[in-house]
Amino acid sequence: MSDAVSVLLGARVDGPVTVEDAGLCGMIVLRGDLSSPAFKAACTEILGAGVPEALGSTVAGDRAVLWMSTDEVLVLAPFAEASALTASLAEALEGTHHLVADVSDARAVLRLTGGALRETLARLTPADVAPASFPPGMVRRTRLAQSAAAIRMVSDNEAEVYCFRSVARYVMDILANAAQGRPLGLF
């Protein structure tokens, strides 16, 4: 839909760590028995990315599957593909106990880039974000200041933060504020 706009309207704050709106992003919540052949097959065949291990993620091109809980993953895909993928996943899982829903509009995705992004996060989350505890590929749902968020360490220089759209402005602001802090010399 051409009228769709991301909640943060492309906001971006540059600095040693850049915090930016990652823009419209397809997101699908998928619940079911993660260990079942049907669930695994749906992920591999439709998304090309397998079911991730706990706290992990799998990536295939512009799609990714993020582990959210023992019976839930979050599928990332190009925004335009979300509706069709949702339908395909529902079809593939037909007959098994599952839940699939397009949540592309429910959340915002923020991207952090820069070598000091772990310090930015360390100002806001009680989670241990040191490289040994939070390596690339890991997904951690936690708290950023006063809001719930999920963090995916894409690489040592890039992380993505997923939060509900209603608090996207707050999360953007606290991340931008934290990103502008003086170096802490951690990590």
Binding site: A54, T70, R141, R143
Partner: protein, 104 residues
């Protein structure tokens, strides 16, 4: 400020990532139950000075409920375990017994 390891996702979660849920292993009494049984279910709690079996939810994480066996006096945690059981698993009660703590 406790740290409890969520048995569902394995994260050693900070207390601020968790939501407390009170005493564990309550048996629900519904319509037809006696006044005493219903009162016990709804209101009466052990509140022990010692090992407490309690419910927590990894609210800022995987969202799952779990159980913890924790001393209310020393904050020692004897283990966390599934919310889908009606009594503590034997390895946890054994650990508590080995520590010489009563499990009232």
């Amino acid at each position: 400020m406790l740290i409890l390891t969520c048995p569902c996702c394995g994260v050693a979660a900070d207390e601020t990532e968790l939501a407390p849920g009170g005493e564990a292993h309550l048996k629900r009494f519904g319509p037809g139950s006696s006044e005493d049984a219903f009162e016990g279910y709804l209101f009466l709690r052990q509140n022990p000075r010692g090992v407490h079996f309690e419910r927590w939810r990894h609210a800022y994480g995987c969202g799952k409920w779990f159980h913890a066996a924790r001393s209310t006096t020393t904050m020692e945690v004897f283990g966390t375990y599934s919310a889908q059981v009606t009594e503590p698993p034997p390895e946890i009660t054994a650990k508590i017994a080995a520590a010489g703590k009563p499990t009232a």
